[in-house]
C-alpha cells in the first residue's frame, strides 16, 4: 500500500543481516569457550581454567597489568581533569590545540609511539647544546620503564579520557556550576572536590573503564619495552600451550564485556569505543 505500512511487514533482509552479524560475533566466542573446555580428553571441564589461574606467572603478570591500569587511570585523571576544567573556565582559546593534541594518538598508533619512546628514552635526554642531563635513560631501570609504560598508556587512552571528561563537563555546565558555587562563597578546593568531581563521576568512570580495557591486555608497548605484563604473557603462553590461552582469551572477553557493560550503565547507553588496535 504505502511504504510506511510495507515496512511494518516482517523485515526479511534486516533479519538476515542481524543473524549473520550475531553469528560472526558469537561463533569465535563459542569456539574459544568450547576449545577451552576440552583440555582433558573426552571430558568437558574447567581444567584449562584451573591450570591457567594456578600459574604463578599469570597471577603476577595479571596483577601487574592491573596495577599499571590503575596507575594510568589515576595519572590520566590528575592530568586531564584540571586541564579540561581550566579550558572550560578560563582558557577557551586553548581548546583547539588541546583537542588536536588529544586526537594525535589516532594518527600515531601504538607501534609508532613505542618506536619513538624507545629511541628517545633509551639514552639520556640532554638540554640542547649542553651536557646537562635532563632525564637519564629511562629504559635502563625498572622504575624508569614503568614511568614510560604508564606515560605511553596515558597517551593511548588520552583521546577517550579527554573526550569523556570534556563531554561530562559540558553536560553539567561546569562554568555555571563554578560561578554559582563561587557566588555562594565556596573555596576552590570545595568547588573541585564537592561540585565538579561528583558531577562528572559518570564521565570519569566511563573514561576509566575504557582505559582499563585498553591497558590490561595491551601487548605492543608492553612487549617492546620488555615488561612482564599480561598481554606479552598471554602471547608467550600461546606459543607453547593450546588450552590455557583459549581459557584466558575467553576470560579477557568477559572482562571487556563487563567494562563495556558498566560504561553503558554509567553513561546511560552512550557507549564509547576505542577503535584503535
Amino acid at each position: 500500500m504505502n511504504f510506511s505500512s510495507r515496512l511494518r511487514r516482517i523485515p526479511f533482509w534486516s533479519w538476515v543481516w542481524f543473524i549473520l552479524g550475531t553469528l560472526y560475533f558469537l561463533l569465535p566466542l563459542y569456539a574459544t569457550l568450547d576449545f577451552s573446555l576440552q583440555m582433558e580428553r573426552d571430558v568437558i571441564g574447567l581444567k584449562a581454567y584451573e591450570k591457567a589461574f594456578e600459574d604463578k606467572d599469570f597471577i603476577e603478570t595479571f596483577t601487574y597489568s592491573n596495577l599499571l591500569a590503575i596507575a594510568t587511570i589515576v595519572m590520566s585523571i590528575i592530568l586531564i581533569v584540571p586541564t579540561a576544567y581550566w579550558i572550560r573556565l578560563r582558557l577557551p582559546e586553548a581548546r583547539r590545540i588541546v583537542e588536536f593534541l588529544t586526537l594525535m594518538p589516532f594518527v600515531v598508533p601504538a607501534i609508532i609511539l613505542v618506536f619513538g619512546l624507545i629511541r628517545i628514552y633509551s639514552s639520556s635526554v640532554m638540554i640542547p647544546f649542553t651536557d646537562i642531563v635532563l632525564i637519564p635513560p629511562l629504559t635502563n631501570y625498572k622504575f624508569g620503564t614503568n614511568i614510560l609504560v604508564v606515560a605511553g598508556y596515558m597517551v593511548l587512552a588520552m583521546p577517550y579520557m579527554y573526550r569523556s571528561v570534556d563531554t561530562g563537563m559540558r553536560t553539567v555546565d561546569v562554568l555555571t556550576l563554578t560561578e554559582a558555587a563561587q557566588s555562594l562563597g565556596a573555596s576552590w578546593f570545595t568547588i573541585i572536590t564537592r561540585i565538579i568531581l561528583p558531577n562528572i563521576r559518570a564521565a570519569l568512570l566511563s573514561g576509566a573503564l575504557l582505559t582499563f580495557a585498553i591497558v590490561v591486555g595491551e601487548v605492543t608497548l608492553a612487549s617492546f619495552l620488555g615488561i612482564d605484563a599480561f598481554g606479552p604473557y598471554l602471547f608467550l603462553l600461546g606459543q607453547h600451550r593450546a588450552y590455557e590461552p583459549a581459557a584466558l582469551s575467553f576470560v579477557s572477553f568477559i572482562l571487556t564485556w563487563i567494562a563495556m557493560g558498566l560504561i553503558q550503565l554509567v553513561t546511560g547507553g552512550q557507549g564509547q569505543t576505542t577503535g584503535a588496535h
Binding site: 511504504f3 533479519w15 560475533f25 606515560a151 600461546g238 575467553f250 571487556t256 564485556w257 577503535g275
Partner: protein
C-alpha cells in the same frame, strides 16, 4: 598620561595571560615529552643519514625498496578490504536495527555487542580465531565435515585457505571492523528524519527514489568517512596481526616492529622513514574522515 598608562596596562594583560596559560602547562609538558618529542625524533630521523647529516635518501628509498613497497601495498589492501567489507556489513546491520524495522530490544543488544567487539582485539582475538578457523578450529571442522569433504572430497585447508594469510587476517580484523561501523553509522541513520521520507512520499516519490535521491546522498559523507576511519583503524593495527601470524605476514606494522627489535632494514633512517610514511597515511585518512564527518553533521544534526 596615555604613554605612561599604556605599557602598564599591556604588562598586566600579559601577566594574566601567562597565568592563564600556566594552568594547561602540565598537559603541554606531558604531550611534549611523551607524544611530540617521540614523533619528532622519528621525523627528524627519517631525514638523517647514518653519519647524522640531512638527507632525502631515506624517503626516496621508501619508493624504491621493493620489500617496503610490498609491505605498504599489503597493509593498504588488508585495510581497504576490511574497511569496505566491514563498512558495508556494519552499515547493513546498523540499517536493520534503525530504519530496518527490527524490534527496539535487538538494537540495544547490537550496540552493546558492538561496543564489546570493537574493543576486543590483540592476542585474545587472535586466539579466538585460531580456535574458530585455525587448522583444528571448530568451524574448520564443521565446514570440512558438512561441506568440503562431503561435496568436494577435500579439507578446507587443502583448498589453500589459511588463517595466517591475507584472507585469514582480514576475517579476523572484520571482527572489530564491522562493529565499529555499527557504532558510527547507527547515530547517522538515526539522523535520517522520518519527515524526509514522508515529504518525499508526499511529493510523489517511490521508496526507491527516496533512497537514491535523498537518504543515500545524505548518508554518503558519513558512510565514506566511516570507511576511511575503518581503514586507518586496520592500518595501524599491530597486536592482532602479530599474535595471529607471528610476524610471517609482512604488513607495515609488523615490519616496523621487526625494525625496532633489530634494524632488519640495515638502515635506521629508513626505519624512521617507514614509520613516518605510516603516520602520513594515518593523518591523511583521519583528516579525510573529519572533513567528511563535518559535512555530514551539517546535514544530520
Amino acid at each position: 598620561m596615555a604613554e605612561i598608562a599604556l605599557p602598564t596596562k599591556k604588562k598586566s594583560i600579559f601577566s594574566s595571560d601567562l597565568k592563564k596559560w600556566l594552568g594547561v602547562m602540565p598537559f603541554f609538558l606531558f604531550a611534549l615529552l611523551f607524544l611530540i618529542l617521540p614523533s619528532l625524533r622519528l621525523f627528524v630521523g627519517s631525514f638523517t643519514n647514518e653519519e647524522g647529516q640531512f638527507t632525502f635518501a631515506n624517503v626516496t628509498q621508501l619508493f624504491t625498496e621493493q620489500s617496503i613497497l610490498d609491505a605498504y601495498w599489503l597493509s593498504i589492501r588488508i585495510s581497504a578490504v576490511t574497511a569496505i567489507g566491514g563498512g558495508i556489513f556494519g552499515f547493513l546491520l546498523a540499517y536493520s536495527v534503525t530504519v530496518g524495522g527490527l524490534p527496539r530490544s535487538l538494537r540495544s543488544a547490537l550496540i552493546t555487542f558492538s561496543g564489546v567487539a570493537s574493543n576486543f582485539a590483540g592476542v585474545p582475538l587472535a586466539f579466538a580465531f585460531v580456535a574458530t578457523l585455525g587448522r583444528t578450529g571448530i568451524i574448520t571442522a564443521v565446514l570440512d565435515h558438512y561441506i568440503f569433504q562431503k561435496y568436494f572430497g577435500i579439507k578446507l585447508y587443502q583448498t589453500g585457505f589459511n588463517l595466517y594469510s591475507f584472507l585469514g587476517l582480514s576475517l579476523t580484523y572484520m571482527y572489530f571492523q564491522f562493529p565499529l561501523m555499527v557504532l558510527i553509522m547507527t547515530p547517522a541513520l538515526d539522523g535520517l528524519k522520518r519527515e524526509w521520507r514522508e515529504a518525499a512520499e508526499n511529493l510523489g516519490a517511490t521508496s526507491l527514489q527516496y533512497w537514491t535521491q535523498v537518504a543515500m546522498p545524505v548518508l554518503l559523507p558519513s558512510l565514506l568517512g566511516s570507511m576511511i576511519l575503518l581503514f586507518a583503524n586496520a592500518f595501524g593495527a599491530y597486536a592482532t596481526a602479530y599474535a595471529l601470524t607471528g610476524g610471517t605476514l609482512p604488513i607495515v606494522t609488523i615490519q616496523i616492529g621487526a625494525q625496532i627489535r633489530g634494524d632488519v632494514l640495515h638502515n635506521p633512517g629508513l626505519g624512521y622513514a617507514m614509520a613516518m610514511g605510516m603516520v602520513f597515511i594515518m593523518a591523511v585518512s583521519l583528516a579525510g574522515y573529519s572533513w567528511l564527518q563535518k559535512k555530514s553533521e551539517r546535514w544530520l544534526k
